[in-house]
C-alpha cells in the first residue's frame, strides 16, 4: 500500500496527495498524521489536493475527519488546490468540510495558517505577560 508522505515545514505539516487514494490509504494517512501532529506539535496542517481528480464520499469525509483530529491537537487544517470538478462533486454529494479552511493554492494556504498562528501566538503572549505581571 502506498503511503502519503507528510512533510514538515516550520510549524506546519504538509500533506500532498499525489496518488489515487484508496480507503486503506486514507485510514493510514489519518493515523500517520495524528502521530506526526502529536510528536511535532505543529499548529497547522495543509492538505494539497491539486493533483486529485476524482473524489468519493469517503475521501470527502477524510478532510473533515483530519480537521477534527487536528483540532484535538489545537492545529488548524487548510485544504488547498481543490479542482473545480472535485468541488462540484463534493457539493453534489452534499458533503460539507466542517471546520476545514480552504485556499486556492499552497501559497495562500500558508498565509492563512500564518495569520491564524500569529493570532494564537498573540494570545499566548498575553497570557505570558499576565503571568509575568503576577510574578512581579
Amino acid at each position: 500500500m502506498e503511503r502519503v508522505p507528510i512533510l514538515k515545514i516550520g510549524d506546519v505539516l504538509l500533506v500532498s496527495i499525489q496518488i489515487d487514494l484508496q480507503d486503506q490509504g486514507v485510514l493510514a494517512l489519518q493515523e500517520d498524521l495524528a502521530e506526526r501532529i502529536s510528536t511535532t506539535g505543529a499548529y497547522g496542517v495543509i492538505i494539497d489536493i491539486s493533483a486529485v481528480d476524482i473524489v468519493d464520499s469517503f475521501i470527502g469525509r477524510m478532510f473533515a475527519t483530519i480537521a477534527s483530529i487536528s483540532k484535538l491537537f489545537d492545529a488548524d487544517t487548510v485544504v488547498v488546490g481543490m479542482r473545480p470538478a472535485v468541488a462540484i462533486t463534493l457539493v453534489e454529494l452534499g458533503l460539507t468540510l466542517g471546520d476545514v479552511r480552504t485556499a486556492l493554492d499552497l501559497d495562500r494556504g500558508m498565509k492563512i495558517l500564518r495569520v491564524l498562528g500569529k493570532q494564537r501566538r498573540g494570545s499566548f503572549a498575553v497570557t505570558d505577560d499576565f503571568a509575568a505581571e503576577e510574578v512581579l
Binding site: 481543490m82 468541488a87 453534489e92 460539507t96 468540510l97 479552511r101 480552504t102 486556492l104 493554492d105 495562500r108
Partner: protein, 286 residues
C-alpha cells in the same frame, strides 16, 4: 411490357432531348418563387446539376427513396435545401423549386397524345412529389441544426466570466437560469477562479428574470463549491420583486453574502482584500 418500357425510355429520351429548354423553363418557374433573391445563374447551375442526376432515375416511381440509386440525388437535394434554409428561404419556396420541374415537364408533354407517355409523366410527377417532400424534410432538419447551434452559442455568450479587479471575478447572469446553464456558469466560474487565482467572485443576477427554489439551489451550490476551493462568492443585484419571491418561498441563503448592487459587492470584495477606494482630497477628477 415491351410497349411500356419503350414508353419509359421515351420519357427519358424526351427529357434528355429537351434538356436545355426544360432547364430554362424550370429555372424561370423556380425563380419567380424566389423573387430575385437568388440569381438566375445560381438557380440554373443548381437546376442543371439536379437534372443531370435526375435523368438516370426518371424511370422509377419514387415510392422507395431509400434505395441506393437515389443516394446521389438525395444528398444533392439535402445540400441544396440546407443552403436555402441558411439563406432564410421559406420551406415552401425551397420545395417549390423541385415542384416547378413538374410544370415544365407537363408543358413539354401536353401536346403528346400517347397514353403510355402520359402514365409515365404521372409516375415521374409522383417521384418529384417524393423528392419535394425529401427537400422539405432536409430543410427542417437543417433548421433544427441551426436552432441547436444558436442555443449553444447563446449558452456560451450569456455566461461570460469577467475580471473586474485584481483577484475579483464577476459573472453577470442574464435571462432565465436552468440546470444546464447554471452548470455551465458553475464550471466556467470555478475554472476561471483557478486560472486567475482570484479569491473573490461576484454573481450578479440583475438580468435574471425569475428566481425559484431550483435556481436558488443552483446558486447556493456554486457558492459552496467556490468556497470549497478557497474563494469567497457574493451574490449581487437581487431585484425587489425577486427579494420578495425569495422571502415568500422561504429560501435560506445562509451565511452567503448578498449585496444590492454589483458596485456594493465590488466594494465588499475590495475591502476584504484590504483595499479601500477613497476620493482624492482636492476632489477633482484630474
Amino acid at each position: 411490357m415491351a410497349a411500356e418500357s419503350e414508353g419509359i425510355h421515351r420519357l427519358t429520351d424526351l427529357l434528355r432531348a429537351n434538356a436545355d429548354t426544360l432547364i430554362d423553363r424550370w429555372t424561370a418557374l423556380a425563380s419567380s418563387a424566389f423573387r430575385g433573391r437568388l440569381t438566375t445563374n445560381e438557380l440554373e447551375r443548381d437546376s442543371r446539376e439536379l437534372f443531370a442526376s435526375l435523368l438516370p432515375v426518371a424511370e422509377s416511381d419514387g415510392r422507395d427513396l431509400t434505395s441506393g440509386q437515389f443516394s446521389e440525388l438525395k444528398s444533392m437535394l439535402a445540400e441544396l435545401s440546407r443552403g436555402r434554409a441558411r439563406q432564410g428561404f421559406t420551406p415552401s419556396e425551397t420545395a417549390s423549386s423541385v415542384f416547378a420541374l413538374k410544370q415544365a415537364v407537363q408543358e413539354l408533354t401536353e401536346a403528346e397524345e400517347d397514353p403510355a407517355l402520359f402514365r409515365q409523366v404521372m409516375t415521374f410527377s409522383g417521384l418529384l412529389d417524393a423528392l419535394g417532400l425529401w427537400t422539405f424534410e432536409s430543410y427542417s432538419r437543417a433548421r433544427e441544426e441551426i436552432i441547436k447551434e444558436q442555443s449553444e452559442q447563446l449558452l456560451e455568450l450569456t455566461t461570460p466570466v469577467v475580471k473586474i479587479w485584481e483577484g475579483v471575478l464577476a459573472v453577470p447572469l442574464v435571462g432565465t437560469l436552468d440546470s444546464a446553464r447554471t452548470q455551465v456558469v458553475m464550471e466556467k466560474l470555478l475554472e476561471a477562479l483557478v486560472e486567475t487565482g482570484s479569491e473573490h467572485a461576484i454573481i450578479d443576477i440583475t438580468g435574471v428574470l425569475a428566481v425559484d427554489t431550483q435556481v436558488a439551489q443552483h446558486l447556493l451550490k456554486t457558492v459552496v463549491a467556490a468556497r470549497l476551493m478557497g474563494a469567497e462568492c457574493t451574490v449581487s443585484g437581487i431585484r425587489p420583486q425577486i427579494a420578495q419571491t425569495i422571502v415568500a418561498l422561504g429560501i435560506e441563503f445562509g451565511d452567503i453574502t448578498t449585496k444590492a448592487s454589483l458596485a456594493d459587492a465590488l466594494r465588499h470584495a475590495l475591502r476584504s482584500e484590504g483595499i479601500d477606494v477613497v476620493r482624492r482630497r482636492d476632489g477633482r477628477t484630474s
